[in-house]
């Protein structure tokens, strides 16, 4: 797991995302967010299994914002932005970059870590799942308020299509 490249190496074509949606911090909108991410990832060239896993990573990130960032407050705002990675108009992008931002409480990014999976207990799997599914995931504090999670997945890291 490495930190996301962000804008520094020009991995994404534009400062403005191709897709950006705003949702409130309510779990009933998770399914819609998943469907959107799955569909966009599919259009960018990921197979069905990878689309499902990318949607899962986004779902887990949103759950963490709802549960921990906003402490289940239903009126928080969450922004999901999506970029294709690679050249501006490639026939096939090299990957997907997803940024999730909120206005929730800020935490030290160093303290956001996956828990020990040897301990079998309910909960606390979200960060592990995000880091397992995506090539990179970087948390940072936004200026002023809230957190930003940047996640990337490259197309060439897809496993064989033997699972859904």
């Amino acid at each position: 797991m490495t930190e996301c490249c962000g804008k520094q190496d020009g991995c994404c074509s534009s400062a403005t995302p191709d897709v950006r949606i705003e949702v409130v911090s309510q779990a009933r909108y998770l399914a819609g967010a998943r469907d959107l991410v799955r569909a966009v990832a599919g259009r960018l060239g990921f197979d069905a299994a990878q689309c499902g896993r990318i949607a899962l990573a986004v779902d887990e990130a949103l759950c963490n914002v709802i549960n921990h960032g906003y402490d289940k407050r239903p009126d928080g705002r969450i922004w999901i932005s999506i970029w294709p990675m690679g050249d501006p108009m490639p026939e096939r992008p090299t990957g997907i970059r997803i940024v999730i931002e909120d206005n929730a409480k800020q935490v030290d990014p160093e303290k956001i870590k996956p828990r020990d999976l040897a301990e079998i207990r309910p909960g606390g799997l979200g960060v592990h799942i995000i880091r397992e599914v995506m090539d990179c995931a970087t948390y940072e504090k936004r200026n002023g308020a809230g957190m930003r999670l940047t996640m990337e997945k490259k197309l060439d890291t897809c496993p064989p299509k033997d699972t859904q």
Binding site: L30, R53, L117, P122, L125
Partner: protein, 109 residues
């Protein structure tokens, strides 16, 4: 998500239908707790009707497993779709639960 309650060889079967996520995992938790409170010898959770599950659904099943072990109930998960199986593998819980491919593979506890 609807949660069906059925019987298999005289034992309860909980069969959620639809995605299980943070928005509805409490419904599944309610049905599992109700069934576990009756302390059956065996409880089957048929996941064949669940195309998607996030970690809140997994957490619900982990909690059910812990309760079942304390209560002496044999908890069996069956008919997982590949996408649901994937999250159990990512969470490294696929070897922790008793998981079978179909109801046909379930015998009495």
């Amino acid at each position: 998500m609807e949660v069906k309650e059925e019987q298999l060889n005289g034992h309860p079967v909980i069969a959620p239908q639809g995605d299980v996520d943070l928005g509805n995992s409490k419904d599944l938790q309610y049905h599992l707790r109700q069934s576990l409170n009756k302390k059956p010898k065996q409880l089957v959770v048929d996941l064949g009707g669940v195309p998607y599950m996030d970690s809140s659904g997994v957490a619900t099943l982990v909690e059910a497993m812990q309760v079942s072990r304390r209560s002496g109930v044999s908890l069996v998960l069956c008919a997982m779709t590949p996408r649901v199986k994937s999250i159990f593998e990512i969470a490294r819980l696929d070897k922790v639960f008793r998981i079978v491919d179909s109801r046909d593979q379930i015998t009495n506890a």
